[in-house]
Amino acid sequence: GVSGPPLERTITLANATKVGLICTLDKNSPLKSPQVTWKRGNETISHNSKAENSWSIQLTISDSSKMGSYTCILKGQEEISAVFHLQVPKIEAREKPIITYERDVAVLLCTSPYTPMAWTWYMTSGSKQIAINDTFETDKYAIDRVSVNDTCLKIFKLTKADAGVYWCEAAFQLGKSKGKVELKVLSFTAPLKPFLAIVVEVVIFVTTIVLYELYSKRKGKR
């Protein structure tokens, strides 16, 4: 490695596991016999194995407190570092807002690349996030697990008040991860206006053509 932007790598972890992080120095590097430290934030971790040009640490990630960014710093004439980001999986949800209509049903989907232990849905009210659970009206909300990695929130009898941002939170052994879904609720009249405009245009067009044809036929007969 040479000087430049620090090297980074993201490692996605969902369940408790053992992880080994290795920093290897390129043979052609001008840096010789550097001093190596492994750090997490300000905390130094003792590295337990060393090979000819690589230094590594073994970590047992048992809960969320062990997640975060681990850096290996090689100090010599120059200082080189590489960062490993240990993160929970990112939740995939629809980026564009879901557009629905009043009195219709909304279906909000979230997917996780790894199987979470549990899902929770939140609705935003002002700046607060309220969890949707059994205390809510059961004929309004329904949460289904479509497959082991998916969750689906169905909202019935939509009103304009239901519009807004919803969060789906997946709980893993190693932490929680959220996905955001935006819901928009339109009234039936919204698409109706352009629709009726087009229908009127067609009717006018057809009538004009028919009248013109009748007119030219009459003209031809005379």
Binding site: Y101, V107, L109, K184, L192, I198, V202
Partner: protein, 448 residues
């Protein structure tokens, strides 16, 4: 004594019909092609699998093909105009009712069945009436009309995306239905030719009742032609049979390249947005190919069937070479060639059908041809998918498509040989033949 449309206008109001057919092509086939944009939305809303959702399009395509012979026989009985207007109303109702989106089955019936029927009833007569209105400039007129499909498909892509982002998929379906209502407006413009549908049979396939026939023959100077509402006798003609076999093989390969182009580009490591642009290149070159071919056929330098055989060979060459591409530029180049020659083929193949069967039978021939050809369209993609799975590479699909096309070209050549042999046979009988037309066969029968 070949009874034909007496003096088709070959211009004048015919161009109005061409423009109207252009619009109908766009409002039918282009909507079908871009329906994929609704796919993910509908699938997510009904919690469905990709396969169950894709049945919507399968139903539409199936009904489109099955409805074509029905539409063409209705054309013979009632006017083209009436059938197109009916088609427009059906397509509109399919989309508009789809707005209610009650269940997946509801979507199959509305956006699947009704839409498919509507598209079929609009497309078939539109294609047919253009051929009725023109004789000398028929190829050009057909080419311009069919170019509507590409032009609209190109604009509907981003337009539907915008509609869905504004109104959601339900609202977008409703508005699309309204837009399809314009098919009716185009249909009203399709004035029936007074001579085209000659004395209509009031009973299908049997004799004309004397009263009907007599009154009609009073108006016409020529011998009354019995228009059967559905002419199975066409299948007895070897030329027609050969052409339909060509159609089946060609259809088997036509749907494959657009299907596998994007996955192939992904496997080559091309970015998603660049891959989508390949389909746009296809559409633009398709459009150019159709117009250019129409103009070229009009010059009457080559016999249409020879031209068709050439274009088919050129398509299969581009398809066989396409797998050699290893980066975006070469892939785009070969896609462009494929699109262009695909356009030329589509532009000319309907004209060749008209040349083979002649105008009186054209309507039923078109319907029958579409029906039989559809089997190729249904077998093609799954067969190609199977080959790709077995070979483990998307390139195999392109090789298969290329090979089927070469096979179909073989049938075209056989057909041409058969026709030439017949011409030579009939020419030896008619000894005093003064005609020095460069291509003796079909045009001899058509003109004069």
């Amino acid at each position: 004594m070949q009874a034909k449309d007496s003096n088709p206008p070959d211009g004048g109001y015919g161009w109005v019909v061409v423009v109207s057919a252009f619009m109908v092509m766009g409002l039918t086939v282009a909507v079908l092609k871009t329906f994929g944009l609704f796919f993910v939305e509908i699938q997510q809303h009904f919690d469905g699998l990709a396969s169950t959702t894709s049945w919507i399009t399968s139903v539409t395509i199936a009904i489109f093909h099955l409805g074509a012979p029905v539409a063409s026989s209705l054309c013979v009985r009632y006017t083209h105009r009436a059938v197109v207007i009916t088609g427009g109303l059906l397509a509109f109702s399919g989309m508009a009712l789809g707005f209610f989106g009650l269940s997946m089955i509801w979507m199959y019936v509305t956006t699947g069945f009704l839409q498919g029927l509507g598209i079929s009833f609009s497309w078939t007569p539109a294609i047919s009436i253009v051929s009725h209105y023109f004789s000398k400039k028929r190829a050009l007129a057909n080419a311009i009309a069919s170019a509507g499909e590409c032009a609209f498909a190109f604009t509907f892509g981003p337009f539907f995306q915008w509609l869905i982002s504004q109104y959601g998929w339900k609202g977008a379906l409703l508005i699309t239905g309204g837009i399809q209502l314009n098919i009716c407006a185009c249909g009203v413009l399709m004035r029936p030719l007074t001579s085209s549908c000659l004395p209509k049979a009031s009973h299908s396939k049997t004799e004309i009742p004397p009263g009907n026939g007599a009154s009609r023959t009073d108006k016409e100077d020529k011998s009354p032609i019995i228009h059967k509402t559905f002419n199975w006798m066409l299948l007895r003609r070897p030329e027609f049979v050969l052409y339909t076999i060509f159609g089946i093989l060609a259809a088997m390969s036509f749907f494959v390249p657009p299907l596998f182009l994007v996955p192939l580009s992904h496997s080559l490591g091309i970015d998603e947005s660049w891959a989508a642009s390949l389909l746009s290149i296809l559409a633009v070159m398709d459009f150019a190919g159709r117009l250019l071919c129409g103009w070229y056929v009009n010059l009457r330098v080559t016999k249409t069937i020879h031209l068709l055989a050439m274009t088919i060979t050129l398509i299969s060459t581009s398809l066989m070479l396409l797998p050699l591409a290893n980066n975006y530029l070469s892939l785009a180049l070969f896609t462009g060639f494929y699109g262009f020659f695909f356009g030329t083929t589509v532009a000319v193949h309907i004209t060749v059908l008209a040349d083979i069967v002649g105008m009186p039978e054209f309507d039923s021939a078109l319907g029958l041809f579409m029906l039989i050809r559809s089997t190729g369209g249904f077998v093609g993609p799954p067969l190609a998918g199977l080959i790709v799975d077995v070979a483990g590479d998307y390139r195999a699909g392109f090789y298969m498509a290329g090979a089927t096309l070469i096979l179909s070209a073989g049938f075209l050549v056989t057909l041409d040989q058969l026709q030439q042999r017949k011409e030579r046979g009939s020419q030896t009988i008619i000894k005093s033949e003064k005609s020095t037309l460069p291509y003796p066969s079909l045009h001899l029968l058509k003109h004069q």
